[in-house]
């Protein structure tokens, strides 16, 4: 897969936030929320990004849309580097990529009706007006499974699942190619979550959408995505096709994460892999692997050298010394 064929290619993107302190709030260090991340998403597929809170997955999602400026790196969307674009050109590209946010209670303007919420992007981009605008909004609303009578209602009149549908309709208004879905179901109840997940799968099939699906829920990722990247403290530590990753997880972090999911099956008592402590902050003088302080298989080398993301099997990438130099073990 070359970058030209991919809809989205992220190359060595880093986002560092300044840590300020001392008397004059001078810069005393930096926190790399996203550190040298590369990923490629072919058109029409779904890429899942999983990790715990604080792993940098949401920041990466925002960096990709340039809602947060990357510190370094390239973001190629249909071959064009978004970081080089400014003003009108950037706006034009952004029409092709939209975001659905986590919390449907705060991502909708409480003072705008459903109709004006969904129509707004079309008006801003001058895509439609008058009767045509009206028709477009109606068809969008129908696409996400709402009815005409909902058009003139306001967000507070809807349940969480319906609000998320409105958010999806708004994101679809400009006929984007890429949707960044940031935990779209984590604020929803199970019975509603399944409705939204199936809607997203259905839309992808009908409209040929490409998804970047950010979630902490591995079962949801497995259900929706084709390829998965596991993030830990700003790095992608393992990446593989969904089936491959869940069948043969390699990185100790991925393995502990998979073993920690409580499966809704009483005959399947889980035996979580022991890892020490919890996800921490990145130390300022970080050397070596970020997972080393918690890793049950830690070696001397892990504390010295930061492992690179390397292929171990066909298209299975892992950043771990256990798998480098042919020193494959389990």
């Amino acid at each position: 897969m070359t970058d030209a064929e991919a809809l989205l290619a992220v190359r060595n993107v880093t986002k560092a936030f300044a840590i300020r302190g001392g008397l004059f709030k001078t810069r005393i260090g930096e926190m790399r929320a996203v550190d040298d991340v590369s990923l490629t998403i072919p058109a029409g597929t779904s890429y899942g990004l999983v990790g715990e809170s604080g792993s940098g997955k949401t920041t990466l999602g925002k960096v990709i849309l340039r809602l947060v400026e990357p510190t370094t790196g390239q973001i190629l969307f249909e071959g064009k580097d978004l970081c080089q674009l400014t003003g009108d050109e950037l706006q034009l590209q952004r029409a092709g990529m939209q975001m659905v946010f986590q919390n449907p209670y705060s991502s909708l303007d409480p003072r705008q009706s459903v109709k004006s919420t969904v129509a707004e992007p079309l008006v801003i981009f001058g895509r439609a007006r008058g009767k045509e605008l009206d028709d477009r909004v109606r068809s969008l609303i129908a696409t996400v499974g709402l009815r005409d009578e909902h058009l003139y209602r306001f967000p507070h009149e809807f349940s969480g699942g319906q609000r998320q549908r409105i958010g999806i309709a708004r994101a679809l208004a400009l006929e984007p190619k890429l949707l960044v879905l940031d935990e779209p179901t984590s604020a929803l109840d199970v019975s509603v979550q399944s409705q939204i997940l199936n809607l997203l799968l259905d839309l992808q099939q009908r409209l040929g959408l490409t998804y970047l699906f950010i979630s902490h829920d591995l079962a949801v990722i497995r259900y929706v995505c084709d390829r998965v990247g596991v993030m830990y403290l700003g790095r992608i530590v393992e990446e593989a096709a969904v089936e491959e990753l869940f069948a043969r997880p390699q990185h100790p972090y991925t393995r502990s994460l998979l073993s920690a999911i409580p499966e809704p099956d009483p005959d399947h008592r889980f035996q979580p892999v022991e890892v020490n402590g919890e996800i921490g902050r990145l130390a300022l003088d970080d050397r070596g692997c970020r997972f080393a302080p918690r890793c049950p298989f830690v070696m001397d080398r892990c504390r010295q050298i930061d492992p690179a993301l390397e292929a171990t099997g066909s298209a299975h990438l892992v950043a771990c010394h256990l798998y480098s130099d042919g020193a494959v073990s389990s």
């Binding site: 709402l146 009815r147 319906q162 549908r165 199970v190 979550q193 902490h216 497995r222």
Partner: protein, 374 residues
Amino acid sequence: MSSIQSRVSDTPSGPVVEIEDLRVNFRTFDGVSKVLVGVDLRLERGDVMGLVGETGCGKSVTALSIPQLVPSPPGEIVGGDVRFLGQSVIGKSPAELRQLRARHIGMVFQDPNTNLNPVFTIEQQMIDVCLCRLGYEGAVSVTPFHRSRRDLWQQARNTAIALLHRVGFPNPEQRIKSYPHELSGGMRQRVLIAMSLAGNPDLLIADEPTTALDVSTQAQVLRLIRDLVDEFHLTVLLVTHNLGVVAQVCNRVAVMYAGRVVESGEVRRIFKSPAHPYTVGLLRAVPTMETRRGALEEIPGTIPNLLSPPPGCRFHLRCPHAMDVCGVEPPPPMRPIGDGTTVACHLYDGDDLNFRPDRPVDQVVDKVGTAGND
């Protein structure tokens, strides 16, 4: 360590908690919301009962009714009874309730950030709780600076450290002096669990104890709870919306929907052959590691507004098996259908107790396309 050994219970045998036909209303500006409409729940000694349901189904209110912590106003118990160790808790005096909460019922809440006081150290907060257990309620006056009270303070502190040690809080002798903000979410939750155990309770109520935690931390906390159950002979009521958590930790489960327990029984029986259509739908709506793409089933529609719930069974608008009677008559009382499972559903009015609503819900999937009855 002996100070935290569990006591051999001198309390009478019989169920720890019995809730019978509990009805709770909440007065709101929009009218009276019938939050609980006849909840029946029974916890035997040693049960680890999962109480599951979606947002607003009344699971937290049910749990809070046991130590009489339902906020009032707006909440109001309008009927039914809650018995703890055989005694009704409704109408107890504030002093009696205080004793009950201090000595017999431990609680762990969802958000460990809001349930610890940010301006006191863990040490101060733990010692307060431990003194209370020793019978000193005006704990503020017991400090290491009063010579006559120093022993007592030291005793409480030792208990606190022993408890923290037990819940896997690393290096408690030193870190007990931390403030809550210096601890991670998982550690704060461990502190709260330690506090809830201080009174050597008969019953532990855990209200969404792991919802605010990451998966790997969640796994650690769940295992801790599982271990403590055996060690302290606890009876546990675990309130959660996560069916996975129930399957991993509990031995019994009660499923709630819109203010009523619709089904309860042994975890394995209910997960393997659910009887109530809502339980069936709920279990099929959770993606698991085996779910194939597109095979996730949905429960159409949304949970009803409790200010104006649908007539009859509150689930009938979303139910693939709804019959005419369901829209008119409220569901029958919980009825045993064998294997220790009880269910409240018109489908079991007749004699065919082996019926299970297992057939796929194809016919209702179409309705979902036009989503959301509101």
